[in-house]
Every structure is written in structure tokens, then in C-alpha cells.
């Protein structure tokens, strides 16, 4: 993409621009009865979920799209909270008027996952039984638990059947979970830079991140809300994460072996290379906006996720699915590699489901799905508009 194009897109996406979702407000909804029954055998109540919506729900209520965010995301998918905000929502490149998730046509919903720390019930929330933050008492969650909670929200919003569920990375896993859990309640699934189950390598990276947090003396077995939080551990976990989100090539291009703010080596353990500086910055800024217990919980939920759990094969696990699928991978994504996406596609096709698979050339690694990408926008926009057309032609059946 030419620089001019990027400038143009950015202008259109600025607050007040033609393609900006504009000012949005995070809303909140709490349910307590019946409690949310969890995979671990415990239950959770009350459950609060922070969410945002964009666009208008059609009178037929047939244009709603639920977007699931990834590990560090939140309900704020697009637009701005205040006119002073420097940055829009995390998927602003994709969500807005005239964008791929076109808010002129679709009613877009995004909720913060439970277990998170951006307004939904999580380890930092007050446990009504004790009047103190849950901390270590917060139940271990699965992605399916998070999906079940969002189903309650969707029902609360008066939507029987979603036009689509969509997500990248962990969000894509949740979209897949929805597809088999509520097959009659979704017409299309967009699974981007994702997989039906992560590899041992990915579990390994998550585990190193968790160990970094738990090795921090401030962690205190998760009971730290009265004192200092395990910031250095969480920062290291985030640094490890960032390494996995970038491709080798992109790191080489972005930083190479260049030094940060100096001409020559200093021969000490300070920040010397640009890549070190970048990782430290990412780690340190992350701790200001994220809770370590949430990080532990969510990475564990990602590790647990396996669509084939309880089935003989991935193919069998998808037998219940009825939706049309768009699966997208990126060439340089080694965290959620193309081969895994293809494994998923094979299983979908074996079930006779209408499946489209696209592998986009990109140097940006796993992060590619969050960056402006014409190819991704065109695929998502084109796919959605055809699904909506088919759905309306067939009176509700895609």
C-alpha cells in the first residue's frame, strides 16, 4: 500500500471522518439468574459484560455481527471514546461506515470477555461473597464459558440469529466455538489468523509468560490487589507474546541490529538494541492496562481450547456446524500457521460446509490481522455481503 493511501485511510478513520465509527460508549449488562455454569464445574454470578455496539439493528433483526476480541483486546473495537483519544478501537481498520464490517449495513457487537479486565467480570472484580476482589478465587474459565456468557448478552439484545460471528486469533477460536455450540443461531463464521487448537509450541510460549508472572514476588498467589501488582512479571509475559506476534522478517526490517539512541555498544545490561527498547516499551505500557490474573486466566483458556475435545476427530466436532465459513491465514504467521488453518478447512469441507479459504501474503506475522490490509478488507467485505444477500433471498437460511 502506498503511503498516500495510508494517509487517506487514516484521515477517513479519524474522528469525524467519513469512515469512522465516531464516538462510542461502552455499555454494560449484568445477569445473575440463572448463574453461568462453567466447564470447571463451578458457576459464576453475577456476571457483568462490557460491550459496545455500532450501526443499527435492522427491523428484521437479521444484520447483527458479533466480533470476539483477542487476548489483550476489549469491547472497544472501533471509533473513539472521547474526542481527545489518540487511538481508535483495536479493529478500527475493519469496522466502520464503508469498511469491511460496514456499520451502515451491519449491527456490530463486541463484548469484553469474562475473565478479562476491561469492564467484564474477572479476577479483579469484587467477589460478592467476600466484598473483596476475587483474585485467586476466580474460577478457571474456558473459551466456551466466555462464549456462553456472550450468548446470554446476544439474547438480551433481542437477537435470535446472528448474521455472523467473527474474530482473529483467540477471537477466531471463540467464533468456531459459537459455530458448533449454537449452529442455528449464526449464518456465517469468519475465522481469521486462528486455529481449532493451538500447537505445543504456542502452549509453551503461554506457559513461559505465566511462569514469568508467577515468579514475580508481587504476584502473591494471585492475591495482590491490596498491594503492588506483579508488573515486571506481566511485562515479561507481554514481551514474550510480542515476539510471537511478529515475523522474523518484520523484526529484522523494523529493528535489525540497530542500537537505540547511541552509536556504540556500552557493555552493560541496559537497553542497547532497538528491539530491546521496543519490547520493554510494549511490556511496560501493557502493565498499565492489563491485569496479571486475567493474563494467566486467558492464556490458560486458549491452551485448553480444542474444538475436537469430546469428539473422535476435528471433522466429527464440526458435524453440528451449519454456517458458511471464511477462513483466512497469513503467510508469515508462525503462531497460527497456514497449515493449521488448512486443517480446519479440510474438516469443514469434509462436512460439506460452504467454506472459503484465503491465505494472504504478508510480512507482518500474526499481527497482520490487526493491521490495515486491503486483501483482508476485501475478503471480509465481499464474503459478508454475499452471505447477507443469500440469507435474505432464502428467508433466513444462508
Amino acid at each position: 500500500m502506498a503511503t498516500d493511501d495510508i494517509v487517506e485511510i487514516e484521515q477517513a478513520s479519524q474522528l469525524g471522518g467519513a469512515q469512522s465509527a465516531g464516538l462510542v460508549e461502552t455499555q454494560s449488562w449484568t445477569f445473575s439468574e440463572p448463574p453461568l455454569e462453567l466447564d470447571c464445574g463451578r458457576s459464576l454470578s453475577p456476571v457483568t459484560q462490557a460491550y459496545e455496539t455500532y450501526g443499527e439493528l435492522s427491523p428484521e433483526r437479521d444484520n447483527a455481527i458479533l466480533i470476539f476480541h483477542a487476548l489483550s483486546g476489549d469491547a472497544h473495537v472501533a471509533g473513539y471514546h472521547t474526542p481527545e483519544d489518540h487511538r481508535p478501537g483495536w479493529w478500527d481498520t475493519m469496522v466502520g461506515p464503508g469498511k469491511a464490517f460496514d456499520t451502515n449495513r451491519y449491527f456490530v457487537i463486541c463484548a469484553n470477555i469474562i475473565g478479562g479486565c476491561k469492564g467484564s467480570t474477572g479476577p479483579a472484580s469484587i467477589n460478592p461473597a467476600t466484598g473483596r476482589p476475587y483474585g485467586p478465587d476466580f474460577p478457571i474459565l474456558t473459551l466456551s464459558d466466555m462464549v456462553r456468557a456472550q450468548e446470554r448478552l446476544v439474547t438480551h439484545l433481542g437477537i435470535e440469529k446472528l448474521l455472523a460471528v467473527a474474530g482473529g486469533s483467540m477471537g477466531g477460536m471463540m467464533a468456531l466455538d459459537w459455530a458448533v455450540r449454537y449452529p442455528e443461531r449464526v449464518a456465517a463464521v469468519l475465522a481469521i489468523a486462528t486455529t481449532a487448537r493451538i500447537t505445543a509450541q504456542s502452549i509453551a510460549f503461554n506457559e513461559v509468560g505465566r511462569q514469568a508472572i508467577m515468579a514475580d514476588p508481587h504476584w502473591n498467589e494471585g492475591d495482590y490487589y491490596d498491594g503492588p501488582s506483579p508488573e515486571s512479571g506481566l511485562a515479561v509475559a507481554r514481551m514474550i507474546g510480542h515476539i510471537t506476534y511478529l515475523s522474523d522478517e518484520q523484526m529484522h526490517r523494523k529493528f535489525g541490529r540497530r542500537l537505540q539512541d547511541r552509536e556504540s555498544l556500552r557493555y552493560d545490561f541496559g537497553t542497547e538494541f532497538q528491539v530491546e527498547s521496543y519490547l520493554r516499551y510494549q511490556g511496560n505500557s501493557f502493565v498499565r492496562r492489563f491485569d496479571a490474573n486475567s493474563y494467566l486466566l486467558i492464556t490458560k483458556a486458549i491452551d485448553y481450547f480444542d474444538l475436537a475435545n469430546g469428539h473422535r476427530s476435528l471433522v466429527e466436532s464440526l458435524e453440528r456446524a451449519r454456517a458458511d465459513f471464511l477462513v483466512v491465514s497469513f503467510t508469515s504467521d508462525w503462531l497460527f500457521p497456514t497449515e493449521q488453518a488448512k486443517e480446519l478447512v479440510r474438516a469443514l469441507q469434509a462436512n460439506g460446509l460452504l467454506t472459503t479459504f484465503l491465505e494472504i501474503s504478508s510480512n507482518y506475522g500474526h499481527d497482520a490481522f490487526l493491521l490495515p490490509n486491503d486483501e483482508l478488507s476485501a475478503a471480509v467485505g465481499g464474503f459478508l455481503s454475499h452471505v447477507q444477500r443469500r440469507l435474505r433471498q432464502n428467508g433466513g437460511r444462508a
Binding site: R346, A350, F357, L358, A379
Partner: protein, 208 residues
């Protein structure tokens, strides 16, 4: 196995209308190397077919998505193996067989997932091809074979006779043969191996 994606716009027009005529209403169709999806889109809209495509070129895949076609981005043998036996009434391979590393294997793979296969290919026995080689002493080049010998993706060119022999050897039953003289004139079976630049075969597994 992989091959270079050839410019598809020009080569489609010749055969795709004739291929369409072989496709009954409402068939389940898989197009291998479906390009930008022109043929599939036509079959879906005009013949009410249930269509799927496989295409290796990213830009083509993008175009297919814009047409609302379910397409698999990747190599065709790899893309085929996902489907269960007999998933399709017809599997189409338009002017790509000659680019396959193992054409016989491709045909059998097609007939595993499909009841019948429609295969079109440039006929190397066409008089123009023969004459060019004979008179100029150089590798033939024309609209059906637009490449230089050193950059051609066509690694397994054959004549109509060659193809019939392959079908016999592999136990493939020929249901239809259509012969085309460029630009788009149908010719009869008489001296077809001389007169036709392009051949379209409809096959089924003769042993099943």
C-alpha cells in the same frame, strides 16, 4: 505439486461455454484452478449449480470471494483431498492438466471426489503446432501455447490421440468429446487430432 498460474482470461473464453453445456442444471460442481471464478459464477447463477473452487493465485481467490464463491486457496491435489468420495457430480479441470506433475494421478483424484470429470487441454497435434515445429524448427508458440520453452508451466503436453490412449490404459470411460478450432469453432471428430486446437473430454471411471 505446484504450478505457475497462467493468464486465465484469454484461455477461459474458448472452452468455458462449451464446458457449461455439459453441466446439467443443479449439479454439484468443483472447478480445479477456477481462476477468477467466471465459469463457476456462471454455473451458479444460470444453472443453479452448487459450486466449489480451488485456486492457487491469491488475486484470483480474492475475485472469487467478491463473486460470492466458496473457494479454497491452495494447490489443487491438496485441495481435493479434503472432500469425501463422490462429493460432486462433476469436477472440472480447464486447460491445466498439462501443467500437473502427474496428470493420471490428478484425473483419478478428480474421479474419486466426482462422479464425472470434464477436462480440457490444448491439443499438441493441432496442425498449427505441428507446422510451426516442422517449418521453423522451434518450439511452437501461439494463443493456446503462449509461453517460451524456458518459462512454460506446461510440462505434460499431449495430443488427442495420446489422451485417448491414457484413458484406455487408466480404465477411464469417455462420455463426451468436444473439439474446438480456434478461435471458437466446434469441429467434428473427423481428423480432429489435426483440426482441433483444443479438446474437451468428459470422463467417468470405467471400472466402477
Amino acid at each position: 505439486m505446484s504450478w505457475i498460474s497462467a493468464p486465465r482470461e484469454t484461455k477461459r473464453r474458448l472452452d468455458y461455454e462449451l464446458i457449461s453445456e455439459l453441466v446439467p442444471q443443479g449439479s454439484r460442481v468443483l472447478d480445479l484452478g477456477c481462476g477468477d471464478g467466471q465459469l463457476l459464477s456462471d454455473l451458479m447463477t444460470n444453472r443453479g449449480c452448487d459450486v466449489r473452487g480451488i485456486e492457487i493465485d491469491e488475486t484470483h481467490v480474492r475475485n472469487c470471494i467478491q463473486r460470492g464463491l466458496p473457494v479454497y486457496h491452495g494447490d489443487m491435489l491438496e485441495g481435493l483431498q479434503h472432500y469425501r468420495n463422490g462429493s460432486f457430480d462433476l469436477v472440472i479441470l480447464s486447460q491445466t492438466l498439462q501443467q500437473a506433475a502427474d496428470p493420471a494421478r490428478v484425473i483419478h483424484a478428480m474421479l474419486r471426489v466426482g462422479e464425472r470429470a470434464i477436462i480440457s487441454f490444448p491439443n499438441f497435434g493441432w496442425w498449427k503446432t505441428r507446422l510451426q515445429l516442422l517449418l521453423t524448427g522451434r518450439m511452437p508458440r501461439h494463443r493456446l501455447l503462449p509461453y517460451e520453452w524456458y518459462n512454460t508451466p506446461n510440462v505434460h503436453l499431449c495430443t488427442i490421440r495420446d489422451f485417448r490412449i491414457l484413458c484406455r490404459q487408466e480404465g477411464l470411460q469417455v462420455l463426451h468429446e468436444i473439439f474446438v478450432a480456434p478461435p471458437a469453432r466446434r469441429v467434428g471428430p473427423f481428423l480432429a487430432n489435426w483440426r482441433a486446437g483444443l479438446a474437451i473430454f468428459e470422463l467417468r471411471d470405467g471400472r466402477s
